[in-house]
């Protein structure tokens, strides 16, 4: 045993030495032989006890958002957002279909990257969480009372909404930014190599209603055709500004791996959104025709409703002096993160050898003194030396994202050398580093992107698991690591697999969310046009070729549960209402031959599943949720007669 340990530590030692040599770091690697008992104690949440934080991990290509507890790393829920979910029926049942409508039609999936909690005064407030869709550009809002997706807005003129969905200090705006610049008019049929003339970038400012949370695309800013990668709102002194990273300032449209990596510096774009909004109110923006969807969940009717918008206000920086500046930044920067004071703008130059830190106040000074080295399409480029305040040396290879602990330190994820470096915001020197398993993308400190970080835990979201867990084949789930950052040295506490591919994550004190979590949907507030609020109203109605079944669910029966008179060729809508008003008593509905999904109904909810039987027969249906002791008895039959038969509609429950 002892010899195994020493061989292992020797191997780790060699590994670390190699990394150290590679990056010529002066800082020693930390041994990962941690005190396991100490780590177990720190993450142990006794059965029945609650976690200190809710954590929200994006699902990446799963299109969803998962909810976890910290420090236990227990999974609570996977919230369907951009992707259909046969488990809950989301995206399959009629009321949810509109949520996934776009100007490209019904899009049943997406790639969700960056969740961001709504904020008040620069602190996460637990009202809503936003998340972006990277593929077919959208932003979703999830309500943190019901933990359900309640709104999705499409973003026009955008190709890959990656630099999103970050909110301003008081959630005035949530932002979108195009990763792939494209021609603005969606119909514009142009050669790809006319990129420089015809392609444009768009930064989108989406206004958030403070009472309802409802989003509205206020305006877009047209920018040169770079790749706009990530974004952050400023805070405190810089709270009127948004910052974006750019890469491909080379404006390449093919083999970007080489062609977009030529310039030594790309830009951080600094946008004064407040001033931009004022210009828009003054009428300086141009109304452009376009098409995009806005899908909103009407709580009262418990259904998503789509509205198609056909124009957008576009502001050109040429007509709006003083709103947008470029800060040269090495090299193909990925993340841009603002420290809790709002003064430091930290960029993660993924091909850079240092972590550049810009100063917000120096930026204002440079603007004041017009220390510009160039101007691109009306956007002044500020002298690098005028804004830079520090360059963190030896950050490892491929620094990406930075969060803060509120105690004067920053933590940067470093992809290629697969580690996290901790550095001082005073000296800009690395003070600690720890391995990530393996190849880390984002990292997240609860509140670490706000004005008031908790500075206790940190999560690293890594890209490959390799040998970390029992192997599950060539494609494995993505891991996450939990670290204790309360002391001088970072300490690894947990290493756990996740759902989908979490890119970014958010966390919030449980106390800000838990008291508001809903237990039921109030039946008395259910104004769904096809709700059945009492078992005596259960019925079947034929309207031509459409048959509507108004069905109630309550432990342990469906009403009606015997239905006859359906014919092949009919379209049947099962309008299901869960009459329960008790927390977590969920019923489900599934019918043989359903080509969509089952559907789950929370207490008090009404949902509709469409069914088009294609051959005669007797079709059993049943409750898919183990709702009660007599759950197995919660079933029924539908008789389907051949097309043209004259079986009349009849229905019943029980014989008495």
């Amino acid at each position: 045993m002892k010899s195994i340990i020493s061989i292992k530590s020797a191997l780790i030692g060699i590994g670390l030495l190699t990394v150290s040599l590679l990056v010529l770091t002066g800082c020693p690697g930390q041994s990962n032989l941690m005190d396991t008992r100490d780590a177990a104690q720190k993450t142990y949440v006794a059965p029945g006890d609650y976690d200190e934080f809710y954590a929200f991990l994006s699902g990446g290509y799963s299109g969803q958002l998962s909810v976890w507890g910290l420090p236990s790393a227990r999974l609570f829920k996977v919230i369907p957002v951009f992707s259909q979910d046969p488990e809950s029926g989301y995206g399959y049942y009629e009321e949810s279909k509109s949520m996934l409508q776009t100007s490209y039609g019904f899009i049943p999936w997406d790639d969700s990257h960056h969740p961001h909690l709504s904020q008040t005064g620069g602190i996460a407030d637990g009202r809503w969480i936003f998340i972006n869709a990277n593929n077919t550009p959208r932003i979703a809002r999830i309500d943190l009372e019901t933990f359900e997706t309640v709104e999705i807005i499409e973003i026009p003129n955008t190709g890959g909404n990656h630099g999103s969905s970050f909110v301003t200090e008081n959630t005035e705006y949530v932002v979108g930014a195009t990763r792939f610049s494209i021609p603005f008019d969606p119909e514009l049929d142009v050669p790809i190599d006319s990129y420089k003339e015809n392609f444009r970038g768009a930064l989108s400012l989406i206004k958030v209603d403070q009472d309802t949370g409802q989003m509205e695309l206020d305006f877009q800013i047209v920018v040169p055709p770079y790749n706009y990668d990530l974004a952050r709102s400023g805070k405190g002194i810089s709270s009127d500004w948004y910052f974006f990273t750019t890469y491909n300032t080379e404006e390449a449209h093919t083999l970007l791996e080489i062609n977009a990596s030529r310039n030594d510096k790309d830009f951080v774009a600094a946008l004064n959104w407040r001033k931009a909004a004022e210009y828009v109110r003054e009428g300086r923006a141009e109304l452009m025709s376009t098409e995009y969807y806005h899908n909103y969940y009407d709580k009262s009717q418990s259904m998503a409703i789509s509205t198609v918008k056909d124009e957008v206000l576009v502001l050109d920086p040429k007509d709006a002096p003083g709103i947008l500046y470029y800060l040269p930044t090495p090299k193909s920067p990925h993340g841009v993160d603002i420290d809790p004071t709002g003064e430091y703008i930290v960029a993660g130059g993924k091909l850079a050898t240092v972590i550049p830190v810009h100063s917000f106040s120096r930026m204002l000074e440079a603007i004041e003194n017009e220390r510009f080295i160039d101007e691109i399409d009306g956007i002044p480029v500020i002298d690098y030396d005028a804004t830079i305040i520090g360059e963190v040396e030896n950050p490892g290879l491929g620094p990406l994202h930075t969060e803060f602990d509120g105690k004067g330190y920053a933590y940067t994820s470093v992809y290629i050398s697969s580690e996290i470096v901790k550095w001082s915001l005073e000296t800009f020197e690395v003070v600690d580093r720890i391995d990530a398993y393996y190849s880390i993308g984002h990292l997240m400190i609860p509140g670490g992107d706000t004005v008031d970080p908790y500075g206790k835990y940190m999560i690293g979201l890594t890209k490959t698991a390799k040998d970390r867990y029992l192997p599950v084949g060539p494609k494995q789930n993505h891991p996450a690591q939990l670290y204790d950052i309360s002391g001088d040295r970072m300490q690894l506490l947990l290493d756990f697999p996740t759902i989908g591919e979490p890119h970014y994550a958010q966390a919030i004190s449980a106390e800000k969310v838990k008291p508001n979590a809903a237990r039921i949907y109030q039946l008395e507030d259910n104004n769904h046009p096809h709700a059945t609020k009492s078992v005596s109203d259960a019925r079947v109605v034929r309207e031509g070729d459409v048959v509507r079944v108004y069905m109630t669910n309550i432990r342990s029966n469906f009403r009606p549960d015997n239905i006859e008179g359906i014919h092949v060729g009919d379209t049947v809508y099962f309008h299901l209402t869960n009459l329960e008003q008790e927390w977590d008593v969920v019923h489900g509905f599934a019918i043989k031959g359903a080509q969509n999904a089952e559907v789950l109904l929370a207490p008090g909810q009404t949902k509709t599943i469409k069914w088009e039987p294609n051959r005669p027969g007797i079709y059993p249906f049943y409750c898919t949720a183990f709702c009660s002791a007599l759950h197995q008895e919660m079933q029924g039959y539908v008789r389907v007669s051949p097309a043209g038969a004259n079986t009349p509609i009849t229905y019943r429950t029980g014989t008495r």
Partner: protein
Amino acid sequence: MNIRQKLLLVVAALMLLPLYYIPFWSISMTAPQYPEGIGMYIHINDVRGHNQHDIQSINTLNHYIGMKEIHVDEIPELKIMPYIFAFMIGSLILIALIGNQKLLLGWLILFVILSIAGIVDYYLWGYDYGHNLDPDAPIKVPGMSYQPPLIGTKQLLNIRASSYPTWGSALMVGSFMLSALIYYNNKKKS
């Protein structure tokens, strides 16, 4: 009866007023599946859930053993009791104004009779619910009845039912004791 005693009698009468708003009895149930608890408060004019929808949940659970559903509008006592209380409050105030010992004794006796009748009625109500079960009930346990205890705690299958008086009952007892004390003091003097 002096002014002070008369005033105290009025106080005793007014002590019954809150009964229109607060419950006098509570039945609480716990089961492994109900960590949040479930139960009902009995008022002179209402039966309410401990939580907003508890009555519905209790009815849903009870249908498995064939127990009748609790529907507030179908319980005649809840319609009668408010009048009885109005009478008791009004008559005591009147007795205080007149200052008549005999009438006060009569009021006290009536109070005792009504209390006994109430307890008997409540017991019979519970007996009916607990024993008069639908023969078609899905869950039938031979020899099992489901009458909640009049007072105390009883295990009914997976549910532990506790039945206890609440502040409303304390007010009733207080009102009676105060009136009785005044009667007793006066009697001693004469």
